[in-house]
Amino acid sequence: MIMDTQQALFQYCLRLGDTNLILGHRLSEMCSRGPMLEEDIALTNLALDHIGQAEVLLQYAGEVEGKGRSEDDLSYLRPVDEFRNWRLVEQPNTDFAYVIARQFMVDVYHCLLYQKLQKSNNEILAGMAGRFLKESIYHQRHSSAWVQRLGLGTAESHRRIQQAFNDLWKHTPEMLAAKPYEKKLIDYGIVPDPEELALDWTVQVIRVITQSGLRRPADSFVETYTAHTEHLGHLLAEMQYLQRSYPGAKW
């Protein structure tokens, strides 16, 4: 099947929007569980930014799709296999090192992506990217400082952040992989080439990891299947509970 540009754009926005939504939800689970007050505030602020970005992206996705689905419909009424987020962001919080490693990997990608996406031929995407970029740079400042602090901190903090990177690294091929529908969007100058982003991402991430006294995690097998891990279903069960139990409920 040849997908037309609108459908491709819908899929693209869905992937970006879902990734922000699921990461935002994961971070919101850290509310009152941060290692200290300032960090608790930081993590919930990050959650707010990601959910805000998801709201804008999914609203636009709904408009592009043209079936009258709102951002809330897309968030609360889709089953797990229709979510397009990166597997990385659905991984459980496990411990603070995992939260930071995951955040850092996402932040570096978002900064690179939004820098290029703000020059998109699609004015709406370009406008959003300009807004999101400022937030993502701020996030990256925070997460990369923590990677350094944990990596160069105590033996225990070093062990934990290394463990987190080692464990989460297997999700990077799926996150960096180019999707077939992106080709047309790249040709039209709507979105940047994910292969270039993947190269830049790897260089930047490895630089900070090594500067933090950590080892580059070993590349594991490359997963090409698109199914989610078991964790997303559990997350959605909680996130969608209210709308599933009381359809159409409003504040």
């Binding site: 930081a42 930014d49 805000g52 900064c111 709406i124 959003m128 400042r141 990369s144």
Partner: protein
């Protein structure tokens, strides 16, 4: 454009300048720079606003307060349009607004040395109370999305900093 419509638009701007920012009430939403345009065609009133932060919870409050204020002025057909491009920046804060922030105890935004580089060192933030440049970042995130927390090493007072964006 008919001249009396321009007069009406001016009235709208004036009324908007009286709506305080819900989080930082010393400045108005006009001082903040979120209102980008006002258009009146004799029938419909259109107000264009740009959100400060994508997830800013105050945004829906802005919309509600603008709507209420315009309703009080007798405008029934008010369309509030939210645009994302160009992205809101703290450069749109007026110099009057920055001074008001400082007097309120919030350090106004200071330009980043290298805004596109996430690894660049942060700029020096002078204390809004004693102007000392010997200040320390306590927390990058604060009570609202637009502020971070600092303390002054000279007068020992903690203070909030309105992030540069």
């Amino acid at each position: 454009m008919q001249p009396d419509f321009i007069g009406i638009e001016e009235l709208v701007w004036e009324r908007l300048s009286l709506i305080p920012d819900p989080e930082v009430p010393v400045i108005s939403i006009l001082d903040l720079g979120v209102v980008r345009n006002v258009r009146y065609d004799g029938n419909n009133l259109e107000i264009v606003i740009t959100p400060t932060y994508t997830g800013c919870p105050a945004m829906s409050l802005f919309v509600a307060e603008i709507r209420a204020a315009m309703h009080d002025q007798g405008f029934d057909q008010v369309e509030i349009k939210i645009v994302y491009s160009p992205a809101w920046t703290t450069d749109w804060l007026s110099s009057v607004a920055k001074e008001k922030l400082r007097q309120y105890g919030i350090a106004p935004p200071v330009k980043d040395v290298d805004p596109e580089n996430p690894f660049a060192p942060p700029p020096v933030i002078p204390c809004p109370r004693c102007n000392s440049e010997d200040t320390t970042l306590v927390s990058q995130f604060g009570a609202t999305a637009c502020k971070s927390l600092y303390k002054c090493n000279t007068c020992k007072e903690p203070f909030e900093y309105f992030k540069h964006f």
